[in-house]
Amino acid sequence: MSTTRRQFLKIAGLSVFGLGASTALDAADAVAKDMPGAKYEVGGKHLAAKRWAMVIDTRKLESREDYARIIDACHKVHNVPSIPTKQEIKWIWTDKYDRVFTDDMSQHLSPAVREKDYLLLCNHCENPPCVRVCPTKATFKRADGIVVMDYHRCIGCRFCMAGCPYGARSFNFGDPRPYLKEVNPAFPTRMRGVVEKCTFCSERLEVGLLPACVEASNGAILFGDLDDPNSPVRKALAENFSIRRKPSIGTQPGVYYIV
């Protein structure tokens, strides 16, 4: 029996195709599988909103202890380390008027307002610049307006820190664990090389709790749905004059200050 070159090439080509197809099928078989029948659902106790927002009534916050109590509550729950150098990690902190409301042009403010401390945290903007610049989508905005991070994806490029107009993001230059006095076993810490920030306590909202700072503030901080006219934040905003940080840059912050 004689085989022409043409027949030989046909058979060889078919065999290679068959071999390749079987390895490809094997590889497809090895892909991780979900357990049949398993489902993911929203927890029963979670608090829902269209747009979460916060109102800080600065008139009700007077003493150093008021601020310390609120800051400690947040930092304890979220395992935020206290690093005494420039490499500090900030979720919620304080600063003076001229460094908080930098848009304000008033030359003769009342000294009480100018000298006061103001609570600062992530503003959970409507148009968050940090989300726009994040190259890995580690930072993203949820449907309810909260800007959160997936630390698993953060590569530590710090674009978000450059993008954030409010300085609300901190970078872990080193392992934060040695700077934690006590670790809350219900919440993770962070590792060297990731950026972190306030989460509006999204993990507490999921189980029906208000943010830790709101609970510790004795009514000075209000939290609620900005799209609901009957929510505590909308009522407070309707009754009082309020300001936001750097309104002119169009980020539409979700943290309001009653001054």
């Binding site: 991780a32 979900d34 357990m35 489902k39 993911y40 659902e41 929203v42 029963g44 993770p188």
Partner: protein
């Protein structure tokens, strides 16, 4: 044969080196599945043990995205039981012995997942 006194020992050495993986494998002790410390008082995991053994990393991967990005923090298992999606507060509540559960398998398979760089390992390592 020309140069047989060089060629034959050379072939023997070559074959010895070439088959090194096979005979070294026969000489080393056989791989044994590590004995894990299973949680006391718990009969079953969220899914069958076979599935958990093979796919727990996949489950954790999907759990993270569902909880964080989709806001879905309840896992309805294939047997209908509902579990909170949380490594620290659900998985490690039962598997409180990280050293004798997670680490044993990971070490014997030479994988070093970095879960514990951030997630807090359970304190009760009994």
């Amino acid at each position: 044969m020309y140069n047989g006194k060089y060629i034959i020992p050379g072939i023997v050495i070559f074959v010895g080196l070439f088959t090194f993986p096979f005979w070294s494998n026969l000489l080393t002790p056989k791989y044994e599945r590590p004995q894990l410390a299973l949680p006391a008082g718990q009969k079953e995991c969220i899914e069958p043990a076979e599935y958990m053994r093979a796919e727990h990393m996949h489950i954790l991967d999907v759990w993270r995205d569902q909880a964080l990005r989709e806001g879905k923090r309840a896992y309805v298992a294939s047997n209908g039981k509902v579990w909170d999606i949380s490594l620290q507060n659900t998985c490690m509540k039962c598997h409180a012995n990280k050293a004798d559960f997670c680490d044993k398998c990971h070490n014997s398979n030479s994988v070093s997942p970095y879960c514990w760089d951030c997630h807090v390992a359970p304190r009760g390592n009994q």
